[in-house]
């Protein structure tokens, strides 16, 4: 199917009244939870996962995807107006967005964030549409050794990009990998580390674990400090950026789109990493790096474009290889499985309506977000004026419902609380949760690939070096680890982290 043919197929699915309605609901809810600090797309998608039982798989993924990229749009609003990121991918937007708001330029900051997000999101979808079919062809050549080596490379990239200690990041990947083995062994059917708890037989739930590590831990961390929701009183003014704003932002948006899309493809990359890297790139290429942190519009345009492009990029490994690159994709994968659909190379052939329908719905959703976001900013500001002391019990309540709703079990709620405490302590003791959760997500695929490869090769590890794809992945992983260990590289990274902390 050619580009236009697939686009028309997709649009005809996406524009069905039912799908349009759920797409709208998705982006609206997504923007709302993006505005609310502490309640991210992971918690919301898991709360709404049981709701998708009654609708078709295509409609369900359209709605859940809408929540995902809608949250990125909403997240920028809180960063700019309150200096509190609605979700982690908008953390970096606080630096210049809030400064712009204090200087009375909240309108252009919100406007460029929305337009940048729209442009990057749309370009990301076009690239996704172009790249997906050839990648599916490559993915069909993947066997167990290739999958294993690809997972190793993905985790290595994640560790390579770790903010602090590489050793600690590696350790967290090991712990996550171990915990991913809890439950029934899919090859022998033997229960592992389940302690006779029936809920553990299916493994520890990714949703309660992620909600604990990120959502609950964040609430605990915020409760330690007294948070004052200081919504800027400055007039928001006109939202359309001026010609000068556009001229200053155009390359930032372009670079953010490219950086975001490719980082979005990497396991664990996602919007958070994309926005941070984009900010660093903008500061590096700027003729006036000193204006960053003081209200530079490029500091808003770049990261906001990057996190939305990353949202599109993340669909590539999921739809073509069946590999989730983050927790959100893991939930999408779960939603597809609930409807009896296995994502992977065969998805495009077996369910073209779903494949192209979901992609086309993102065009529609991005357009809806642009139309929705600009006039509704006043409403989001009102939501932001709700004090955190009222918001956090509500967010906790939503998280509790979300964790319970996955399996209708309090065990999942207990898992969420447990990992909330673990996540809080990890932050205190400077351990990063990202390698932990990603290794946990990838662990079952890694284990199956490793064991199958060893069975095929009669116990010889040489099988991982026998095919060009597998060998290439392992060589690249090795090079990255060597590079990460080099003293010069370590010093440079420590400098970047210190600078980022100082800015924060």
């Amino acid at each position: 199917m050619d580009f236009m043919g697939s686009l028309i197929t997709g649009l005809s699915v996406a524009c069905e009244p039912n799908n349009l309605f759920f797409c709208f609901m998705g982006v609206f809810i997504g923007t709302l939870i993006g505005v609310l600090p502490g309640l991210g797309p992971v918690a919301t998608m898991s709360i709404l996962l049981p709701v998708t039982y009654g609708i078709s798989a295509t409609t369900a993924i359209i709605m859940l995807s809408g929540i995902y990229y809608g949250a990125y749009y909403g997240g920028s609003t809180t960063s700019i107006l309150v200096n509190i990121p609605g979700e982690t991918a908008s953390v970096i937007t606080c630096l210049d967005g809030y400064q712009m708001a204090r200087q009375g330029r909240a309108g252009p900051a919100l406007g460029i964030a929305a337009f940048g997000s729209f442009i990057a999101g749309t370009v990301g979808i076009i690239v996704l549409q172009v790249l997906a079919p050839p990648l599916v062809a490559v993915a069909l050549k993947f066997g167990a050794p290739e999958y294993f080596s690809l997972m190793v490379l993905g985790l290595t990239i994640l560790i390579f990009l770790a903010e602090k200690s590489v050793i600690k990041a590696l350790m967290m990947a090991g712990v996550g990998t171990f915990l991913g083995t809890v439950g029934l062994d899919t090859i022998t059917g033997v229960a592992r580390f389940s302690f006779d708890i029936p809920e553990f037989l299916d493994g520890l739930g990714i949703v309660p674990m992620a909600m604990g590590l990120f959502g609950i831990a964040e609430i605990f961390f915020n409760l330690e400090k007294s948070i004052k929701t200081d919504v800027t009183d400055a007039k928001i003014g006109h939202l359309l950026p001026s010609l000068k704003d556009w001229m200053e932002s155009k390359w930032a948006i372009a670079r953010g789109t490219v950086v975001g899309f490719f980082l979005g493809i990497l396991p664990g990359g996602g919007g958070v990493l994309a926005s941070f890297v984009s900010y660093a790139v903008e500061k590096m290429v700027s003729k006036n790096p000193q204006k960053f942190g003081r209200g530079a519009i490029e500091g808003v345009a770049g990261p906001e474009s990057a996190n939305n492009a990353a949202a599109s990029g993340g669909y590539i490994p999921l739809l073509t290889l069946g590999i989730p690159v983050g927790v959100v994709q893991a939930i999408l994968l779960g939603a597809l499985m609930l409807h009896g659909i296995t994502p992977g190379p065969m998805l495009l052939k077996e369910h073209p309506d779903l494949f192209w329908g979901v992609i086309a719905s993102m065009y529609v959703g991005n357009a809806m977000l642009l139309v929705l976001n600009l006039p509704l900013i006043g409403l989001w500001v009102k939501v932001l004026r709700i004090p955190y002391s009222i918001l956090f019990p509500l967010i906790l309540l939503f998280c509790l419902i979300g964790a319970y709703a996955v399996n209708n079990s309090t065990v999942d709620v207990a898992i969420m609380l447990f990992f909330g405490v673990v996540g809080y302590l990890m932050r205190k003791f400077e351990y990063e949760p990202a390698p932990f959760i990603m290794a946990f997500v990838l662990s079952p695929i890694m284990e199956q690939s490793l064991r199958r490869s060893l069975i095929i090769s009669d116990g010889h590890f040489g099988i991982f070096f026998a095919t060009p794809i597998s060998l290439g992945c392992l060589i690249l992983a090795g090079l990255l680890l060597i590079l990460a260990a080099l003293p010069a590289f370590r010093k440079r990274r420590e400098k970047i982290v210190t600078e980022a902390e100082d800015m924060g």
Binding site: V413, Y431, L454
Partner: protein, 152 residues
Amino acid sequence: MGADRVSSLCWLAFGLLCIYGSVMLGLGTMREPGTGFFPFLAGCFFTLLALIVFVRSLVPGRGFQARISSLWEGAIWHRPLAVGILMAGYILALERIGFLLTSLVVLLIMLKGVEKFSWWKALLISILSSGSTFLLFHVLLKATLPTGIFGF
């Protein structure tokens, strides 16, 4: 004691337990890896790294040397602690007492005890929050929420 020393010792202990559990499951052979093979590899991997972090923590100036007590310096630590305990209570009561009543009571205690709202304000917010979430999720979205002994 330094933060890295304490945390690495905890991970080390956990890692040794994981290795022991994996060996008990059976490692199998290279030709036919057993149920415990992969968790054993993962356990050995992070235990070794925990050991490295521990050894580094003994060298002055390496790793994260902050003292444990300094991690909570200036923090209002009793608030996350209180909320954590309340959440644990919520989990224990949820299926026995039901979503609506448990949420209402826990929210009330949280708002009054932790956030120091006045009684009437705390009560009003608790009723509105738990009632509206019950309506939204249970009535509108048909999500299954525990009803408990009172039937709601």
